[in-house]
Amino acid sequence: MSSPTLDTSSATPATALVTPPAEEKLTKKILTADHPTWCPGCGDFAVLAAFYKVLEKLQYPHEKIVCVAGIGCSSRFPYFMNTHGIHFIHGRALPLATGVSLSRPDVHVFVFGGDGDGFSIGGNHLNHAARKNIKLTYVIMDNYVYGLTKKQTSPTSPIGFKSKTDPTGSIDRPINPMKQLLASGATFIARTHAAQVKHMVDTFERAIKHDGFSVVECLSECVMFYEGSFDDSTPRKGGTYEIIDEAQHDVKDDVAAFQLADLPSPGKFGVFYEVQRPTKNALEQKWIDETQAKLGDTPQRELLRKRFETMR
């Protein structure tokens, strides 16, 4: 096995932003990778299609798009995107994405995953990535069930849901995703639906344009293990899909949003909360800038040498 050393010929300093590349029109065709391995009819197909649409609209440089995921059916998302992508371990997509976001201000970080990945095993990371206001967009494809492992109760499964781990019906109170997110300190919080393509596309776009931690819960039916879960929010199945009227609801008011989150199923959809707060990305950069300003342009190697001097 050969062991080539790192190619540094065209290397740039670790922290520098790379100049934007020449235009290349991003199309759905270019963005499409393998055919998704999801079950026919799975809601996640629509989420993928919506994401293609948004990217077609935003036209970010192709190589600057990164898709991150944990483990689950929904977390297979990166494989179906012809962009840089990483399929990490169950529940840890957000801290991984945090590492990317903080160390690479030049790229756009998107995280995809399921309700189990995000609210069960990954619940703590959600709280902390949110309060730190890490610059990234997180889409939770919530199907109220564990899909990949074939039908166990998830933290969003409603009481009474019969699964392999609750054969007589779930008894644990599910989390309220919107309340959880509001308490977490996320600066953009919205709710949408895989069957509502236009609303989904608009919501994604707004989330992506938000400068901070933006999170979208997207109801996405698991036709295999929880058919009909979202009929009550699907108009063509007799449900109602009510979008939040932002003339009535002040998206800056988290108490109002919390109240909105109290509505019984299917609740409302749209933007629950949106505020501006400095991102951790910006705050860390500020610290760096202030620190470096004091140092003038001393080369880094010289900084370390001086540090050694203090140890004499």
Binding site: T5, D7, H84, R104, V107, N124
Partner: protein, 594 residues
């Protein structure tokens, strides 16, 4: 001064080395004056090694700080002490037995009231507390008595008073003016205090002739090594005795344009670090045992996805919360085997404080070259003990961090079967299909594959990296006899003690050599050549002999070479090896009754 100094009233006696043990409570600032003594050594071309115990209770308690100063090479912090400074009766009672025959004991005559006059030890009572209060003024209570003692030791050992004053000034100068003034008052009072009919010693001039001699603890040096290796990003969660590495990186990295993140837990920490590595940076995470256990799943990912990564474990007493402020080397097997599945990764261990710098550099080099995680096993003793050594030459040891975002062609494969894995981080233009990084078994493009043959091939590829490395690693040199009765093998912070033990055993007439492993996994190929000329081999390590009677590194060497002459010298009492423990263990094995 391995034998006690002769006490002729007026002569000034030259010393080559001395072990001074300060025994008090952790709140008394004995670490602080011990540290000053150690730093002074570096400044005066002396060698030094320190050792301290940290009380495990929150509010502090009995604690010692031992300084071994020497004009020649100092290999260990000292078994017995030549000089004991006892602040309390309990300090006196616990440590008088560790004073060498004919040694000196300074004690606070206001605190220590019952003396055991034994083995020709010279007892010298000095009212540390009241003399300090007198010198500094009432408001200081007993604060400053450590500085008083420092002054006294300065006088006794004729240390360079100006240099000490300089260090004090740097240490206290930043605070309120009165602090430094009070410190100097206490120092001068101690310096001037008449200790009675005791010889004054002075150290022979140190042998080191270089100007760039620095002294520091292992954790600080490790952090400097990481910076020199090009680390600018990473994340961790606090835990003793790892925390000070992360605190140093958090404080220093902004100067270098980097970011070190305090994560919500170790699972997040290792994930953020892998994120930074995926993003194209050399990144580091670390912890002690409990935190390492939490990182095992993500480290399995890093092996599978072939992520270059540095992971530091500053080992402490285990299992579980164990003995959090004590030393142990019982995480070696976990470093190699702790994750599920066959997870090739590299494991290194620094041999002393200076080596913390170079091992960090090497970890960075190997992580990048072999595109895999590298675990550094440091330990509690290295983390906090102070040694003096030559400042690293940054013109030779400095890696400028780079991010390779060069365009990749259409035929780009991150995981080629016939070449080393090279990721294309986000931001890299790919002329065709973008790569995915995954924890599933995959083909050369990083695409998930359930193919039986592919799994076998990729397993081979990942393992063969380590086989390749093992062949390239040089065999460690043998210290002492090159063949004979016994070869000692050790790793980590036992380095100095093992060498000193070889000196003693050879002085006793045994033919003994020693080899120290810095590369724990893989070990250099052909290791058995080391012991070909020896009758017996003893692996010296601070962990348990386990069910089968062999310590952790010994198990690895036996498994690899199936040579029954490999035996173990082990213990797990939370303390570093004493020379006499290694010597006795060696004698037993040579006699054949181990």
């Amino acid at each position: 001064m391995s034998t006690a100094p002769a006490l002729s009233p007026s002569s000034v006696k030259a010393l080559r080395n001395a072990v001074i043990r300060l025994a008090g409570n952790s709140q008394d600032g004995i670490q602080s004056i011990g540290g000053i003594l150690a730093r002074l050594a570096g400044r005066t071309q002396q060698d030094v090694m320190t050792y301290m115990t940290i009380p495990s209770t929150i509010s502090g308690g009995p604690s010692i700080f031992q300084v071994h100063l020497g004009s020649g090479e100092v290999l260990h912090p000292g078994d017995d002490s030549d000089v004991l400074v006892a602040f309390y009766q309990h300090s006196y009672d616990s440590h008088i037995s560790a004073v060498a025959d004919g040694g000196i004991c300074f004690y606070d005559s206001g605190e220590v009231t019952e003396l055991k006059h034994e083995r020709g030890i010279h007892h010298i009572g000095v009212p540390f507390t009241s003399a300090t209060v007198e010198a500094v003024g009432g408001s200081a209570r007993d604060r400053g008595k450590n500085i008083f003692v420092l002054g006294m030791l300065c006088a006794v050992f004729r240390l360079d008073k100006d240099k000490v004053a300089g260090i004090l000034a740097r240490q206290f100068g930043k605070k309120d003016e009165s602090v430094l003034r009070n410190a100097m008052l206490a120092f001068d009072a101690g310096f001037a205090y008449p200790v009675g009919d005791i010889t004054t010693f002075h150290f022979e001039e140190g042998e080191h002739k270089d100007e760039h001699r620095i002294s520091s603890d292992g954790n600080t040096v490790m952090a400097m090594g990481l910076i020199a290796a090009g680390v600018r990003y990473g994340s961790a969660y606090p835990i003793t005795p790892w925390s000070s590495i992360m605190e140093t990186l958090r404080t220093e990295l902004p100067r270098y344009g980097g970011i070190y993140v305090q994560a919500e837990d170790e699972l997040a920490a290792v994930s953020m670090t892998i994120g930074a590595a995926f993003a194209g940076h050399l990144a580091v995470t670390g912890s002690a045992g409990p935190g390492l256990s939490l990182k095992m799943e993500a480290l399995s990912y890093a092996s599978m996805a072939e992520i270059p990564l540095i992971v530091i474990n500053v080992q402490r007493g285990g299992p579980s919360t164990g003995m959090p402020t004590s030393i142990e080397q019982s995480d070696l097997m976990q470093a190699i085997y702790g994750s599920h599945g066959d997870c090739p990764r590299i494991v290194l261990a620094p041999q002393d404080v200076e080596d913390c710098f170079y091992i960090a550099l090497e970890a960075g080099r190997l992580a990048r070259e072999y595109s895999c995680p590298v675990i550094i096993l440091s330990d509690q003793a290295l983390s906090s003990r102070i040694e003096a050594f030559t400042e690293p030459d940054l013109t030779k040891h400095w890696i400028e961090p780079t991010l390779d975002l060069s365009d990749r062609g259409a035929d780009f494969k991150p995981y080629p079967l016939d070449a080393m894995t090279r990721h294309a981080p986000p931001g890299t233009k790919i002329n065709g299909k973008y790569p995915h990084v995954t924890g599933l078994e995959h083909d050369e493009w990083g695409h998930p594959s359930g193919n039986a043959k592919m799994h076998q091939k990729m397993t081979d590829k990942r393992r063969n990296k380590l086989v390749d490395l093992s062949k390239k690693l040089p065999l460690p040199e043998i210290y002492g006899d090159q063949e004979g009765d016994l070869l000692l093998i050790s790793w980590g912070s036992n380095y100095g003690q093992m060498k000193e033990s070889v000196n003693r055993l050879r002085a006793e007439g045994h033919k003994v050599g020693a080899a120290h492993l810095r590369h724990i996994h893989p070990m250099p190929a052909g290791l058995d050549r080391l012991w070909a000329g020896f009758k017996k081999v003893a692996v010296v390590e601070l962990n348990d002999v386990g069910v089968y009677g062999y310590g952790q590194l010994a198990m690895m060497i036996r498994a690899a070479y199936a040579d029954p002459k490999i035996q173990s010298i082990c213990k797990t009492d939370g303390l570093t090896f004493r020379i006499r423990e290694i010597v006795t263990g060696s004698e037993k094995i040579m006699r054949g009754d181990a």
